[in-house]
Symmetry: C3
Subunit: 167 residues, 3 copies
């Protein structure tokens, strides 16, 4: 005989599925950034009021403004980005809201400026399940470490090695 | 009273388990590469016809051919590899087939040639459940960014910084 | 009608939850290291006898001794760490014991000594569920590759590029 699964166990399965969905939307965002696909990156965020706090790069209150900046600054043949997120710590506030901490390893090669940059960043995120789909509603970048080098003369020469991007 | 779990919920649990199994076989493959364990790396692929497309390094149609090349080129004391995959996006075609996108951070130190190489690569994978075990059946490496340096004279000197390995 | 879930399926769900909990405690440990939060890092380990084998850095038999060393050596404004773990392979010995293999990408910038270090390390871990909470009971660091550079004169100059930290 097949009957309904007790609510407690349903919720445990749904919680596991929610974890997968949240990791997935974050992965999509990061891969979209490396694929220079601003539309796909934008769709990872909720459509209403959100907060993307990128520190010295600005704070964005809606996903279109973010996508526009990203398209202008980031989507060029000479900008070579790698965004790798690890060490995720995701907590559920309730069935449709969660927070997330991630560690980002960011590497940029700028073949025009001839620079290589290694950053580590902590993402402080919030997620919301909207019409059945988990979206990012808040993402604050806490810059942790920065190594910025020039290779204009051949040797990689440190221009900045500091706790934050500001030096 | 304990009765059978409805099929819908069984499938949801099995899907979560499949996600874990797919991530696991990819992890095994990458760790085996860093452990210079070609037998273990080979066993992550299906035994029949597969496709491993490593771009300029060649295309392999069976796992033995791949393992042989890997043993010849990669398994030496002077080859120091790190393969780190992140940002996985796994989709199920059906209960026994899935596709996967991963971002790879690859670092190589060659103590013979005195070079250091940082690559980022997107893996476009396919997986199949064969006799209950998830295996990799297709893996195409899309090279995204490359920084290749020599340290023969001490300073890390950029030999190549480009969107692809070819320059 | 809602009835109890068969034990087999309960265990499968609990196994999936255990995987999440183990990944989570490892993530917390790594992020705590980057946040220079020794109390939080210490709490990721079991309170009784454990084994943290960090090779040339020493072997610790209890979490307080580890936290003390970490506080003394690691928690300074000039020490800029990034710990990124990937490729996890977690196996259950039974319902309350598991082993884990992880690949660590470690980057350190020392703004006092003006050095940059890239390490890759394999973690060989053991975990135990104690009073319902998964903790790390054993962690052995197998150092795989090391690139240690000085930037004291500007150019990143290789001081050590080797299979192990010892050279």
């Amino acid at each position: 005989m097949s009957v309904s699964v007790p609510i407690e166990w349903q919720r445990r399965i749904e919680r596991l599925e929610a974890l997968e969905a949240i990791r997935r939307v974050k992965a999509r965002y990061l891969n979209a950034c490396d694929q220079q696909d601003p539309d796909s990156a934008r769709d990872c965020f909720a459509s209403g009021q959100i907060e993307i706090d990128m520190g010295h790069l600005g704070v964005f209150r809606d996903r279109d403004a973010f996508a526009e900046l990203y398209r202008t600054l980031g989507c060029h043949p000479h900008v070579l980005d790698m965004h790798h997120a690890a060490n995720s710590e995701i907590d559920f506030t309730d069935d449709t809201h969660a927070t997330g901490l991630w560690s980002l390893d960011y590497r940029n090669i700028n073949t025009q400026g001839k620079t290589v940059t290694f950053l580590s960043v902590l993402y402080h995120d919030e997620y919301q399940r909207i019409e059945g789909v988990w979206k990012i509603t808040k993402s604050r970048s806490e810059f942790k470490t920065a190594l910025h080098c020039s290779y204009a003369d051949g040797p990689l020469t440190a221009l900045l090695a500091a706790r934050s991007v500001a030096g």
